[in-house]
């Protein structure tokens, strides 16, 4: 057989049918569901008199619009509207026999945090969810991508999707990251380089020593933001790091089945001589802590750099976009970002709310205080992350610093639950989108790593975490 890429192998193993001039019928191994993009899909099934084909391959959680204040009786009208969606999801799951991690479940959390955590995310599998950051699961060598609600209905009914084969893009990142440079900085640097449409129509495979050197959480952070470069999916071939993470998790295979699975999974790599449609390379040694200053994640610069000038941008469309972004953000070309006052810090989201992210933030905040006038929210990605953080005493670090320690959910990443910026406010956020109004109408978002976000919390300004003295005052 001709040499194949990792994507080719997973694709080939899941094609149920391929008629001439038609998209492939692709089998879906795992379907993750949440409250916001599923109600209309279940309603569609009902209209057609269909049942969910594989409730055993379907798992649901509540995350996007859940309150993150403990015991919050609904006080915010936005949260009240979200309640109806939560009730609808519960009713749909019970009607169709779907496992639901609801607000009383010890497993509840952001869909892309709990899938891996529960061992549902398997190498070589196809995974979809009505959510663009499904690309996160590609960190395990799965083909994982976001779909719209019509497609959610398709998967519920048929456990398959109609799919065109994507182009393949290799992102090769070699070299060792400098201290203080995280997976988030790597992916922000990548998107700054290739642009928010740089990978449109493509499935990315991340390769190279800098990727191999990341732990699973770092790999998830990178794959998570593949969609911000326009990619359908991002993936990393599984290795011992992957297997070590999965071993013993609730939905991972056990005993002899585990050994057989690992043997199969070891074949999940791009063959020598297999061709990608395109390859882009980055040198990890050249990457600095990054910050996205504009209104999409591709407008990113090293934290020590100055805001670029639209005049220096050749492409007319890009120039107009940058000009508009600077006006929205209230920034001038050439000004430094370091030292700029901010109002809010959000540490959370499916990009950066895992235990390693919270440890990073706690390391910076330990023994320091959140700056006067700054609101700092720490929102763990799941109940399991929250329990682990509390077992390690990280909650005390955050609370002692004057930050808020919240219940798990998407929270201010999408601002559907009442956690949001006020118009004009500036935030440093560890989430993935700085689109206009994403964190609240008129809100202005700087995207960065948990280290940078924590440094902003304690100084009240955009700060290079590497310049904070090791020993706090």
């Amino acid at each position: 057989m001709a040499p194949r890429t990792l994507y080719d192998k997973i694709w080939d193993a899941h094609v149920v049918a391929q008629e001439p001039d038609r998209p492939a019928v692709l089998y879906i191994d795992l379907h993750l569901v949440h409250e916001v993009t599923s109600p209309q899909a279940f309603a569609g099934l009902r209209t057609r008199g269909l049942r969910v084909r594989r409730p055993d391959r379907t798992f649901a959680t509540m995350d996007h619009s859940v309150p993150t204040r403990r015991g919050l009786a609904v006080v915010d009208p936005a949260a009240a509207a979200g309640e109806a969606q939560l009730r609808t999801l519960a009713a749909n799951c019970s009607e169709h026999g779907i496992t639901l991690y609801d607000m009383n479940s010890p497993h509840q959390g952001i869909v892309h945090v709990i899938g891996p955590e529960l061992g549902l995310t398997h190498p070589g599998s196809t995974i979809v969810c009505g959510d663009s950051h499904t690309s996160t699961h590609g960190a395990f060598g799965a083909l994982a991508f976001g779909i719209g609600t019509s497609e959610v209905e398709h998967v519920l009914a048929a456990q398959c999707l109609l799919q065109q084969r994507a182009r393949t893009l290799e992102i090769r990142i070699d070299g060792t990251r400098a201290p203080g440079v995280t997976a988030k900085d790597v992916v922000l640097a990548l998107i700054a380089q290739i642009g928010v449409a740089g990978a449109t129509g493509c499935v990315i495979e991340y390769t190279g020593s800098a990727i191999r050197g990341l732990d699973m959480e770092g790999r998830m952070t990178v794959c998570n933001m593949s969609i911000e470069a326009g990619a359908r999916a991002g993936m990393i071939a599984p290795d011992d790091t992957t297997f070590a993470y999965l071993a013993g998790r609730e939905h991972a295979p056990r005993g002899a089945a585990w050994d057989a699975a690992v043997e199969r999974w070891r074949a999940l790599r791009t063959d020598d001589g297999a061709a990608f449609d395109r390859t882009v390379t980055l040198d990890a040694r050249a990457i600095e802590p990054m910050i996205a200053f504009g209104t999409h994640p591709g407008m990113g610069i090293a934290i020590t750099a100055r805001v670029p000038s639209p005049d220096a941008t050749a492409d007319a469309g890009q120039r107009a976009a940058l000009d508009r972004a600077l006006r929205y953000m209230g920034l001038s070309p050439g000004e430094p970002l370091l030292g700029r006052p901010i109002d809010t810090v959000f540490i959370g989201s499916c990009t950066n709310a895992r235990i390693g992210d919270l440890r990073d933030a706690a390391r910076v905040m330990a023994g320091r205080k959140v700056a006067a006038g700054v609101q700092a929210l720490v929102v763990p990605g799941s109940r399991a992350v929250k329990r682990q953080a509390e077992a390690e005493g990280l909650d005390r670090v955050f609370l002692d610093a004057g930050a808020e320690w919240r219940e798990p959910g998407c929270s201010m990443c999408i601002a559907m639950n009442g956690d949001r910026l006020e118009p004009g406010q500036y935030a440093v956020s560890t989430s993935n989108r700085n689109f206009e109004g994403r964190q609240g109408p008129g809100g202005r978002t700087f995207l960065a790593s948990p280290l940078t976000a924590a440094a902003a919390a304690v100084t009240g300004r955009i700060t290079d975490a590497r310049t904070l003295t090791q020993e706090p005052r």
Binding site: V36, P39, A84, L162, T200, R433, E436, P441
Partner: protein, 191 residues
């Protein structure tokens, strides 16, 4: 799905690249459990600006939206396509589209038309010269033309299955369920 063959309409131009689905329909309007009424919230936040092109006289009648490159990037929310359709749009002309948005649009009878730079600029120039200018989209012929300008006729690419589904109003789920036996067979081979 409503079939799509040809469409002739005035256009609204949003001359911006990278319009994401959060702009098209902000997250706070995603809390419903049905698809109706989303058109009222289309571009809700940009729309606060009185100069926003969707507020222009006659914009309500336009069935074609013209935007820049990478239209519909970002969130997978199909609400973006629902909102555009609910507001009366049947086609979006852009330089390129976000992948998930393009799929969502097709499933809702909203035609995504990707034009090359030259053709795209001609459409925008025609609208700038005459706000009432009509643009014609012919899906079977895969052409966009500008009324009153015989030199302005531009081809566009679309994948054959999407074209087939749009022209014939094909129900994709019905088509997919036709593979029942093969799906069952796959499940037997990969338990």
């Amino acid at each position: 799905m409503t079939p799509f063959t040809t469409l002739e309409s005035t256009v609204v131009v949003l001359p911006l690249d990278d319009i994401d689905t959060d702009q098209i329909i902000p997250a706070r309007f995603l809390q419903g459990t049905d698809k109706v009424g989303l058109g009222d919230h289309l571009f809700a936040d940009c729309g606060r600006n009185p100069d926003f092109p969707l507020h222009a006289i006659g914009a309500r009648l336009a069935k074609i939206l013209v935007a820049g490159a990478n239209f519909g990037c970002g969130s997978s929310r199909e609400h973006a396509a629902w909102a555009l359709v609910d507001r009366g749009f049947r086609a979006v002309i852009a330089r390129s589209f976000g992948d998930i948005f393009r799929q969502n649009a097709i499933k809702n009878g909203l035609l995504p038309v990707a034009l090359d730079a030259d053709a795209h600029a001609r459409v925008i120039a025609a609208r700038a010269a005459d706000p009432r200018c009509f643009v014609r989209v012919d899906l079977p012929a895969q052409r966009v033309s500008i009324a009153g300008d015989p030199t302005a006729s531009f081809g566009f690419a679309i994948d054959r299955f999407a074209r087939h589904c749009l022209i014939n109003g094909v129900d994709e789920l019905g088509y997919l369920l036709g593979f029942e036996d093969r799906i069952t067979d796959h499940e037997r081979r990969h338990p």
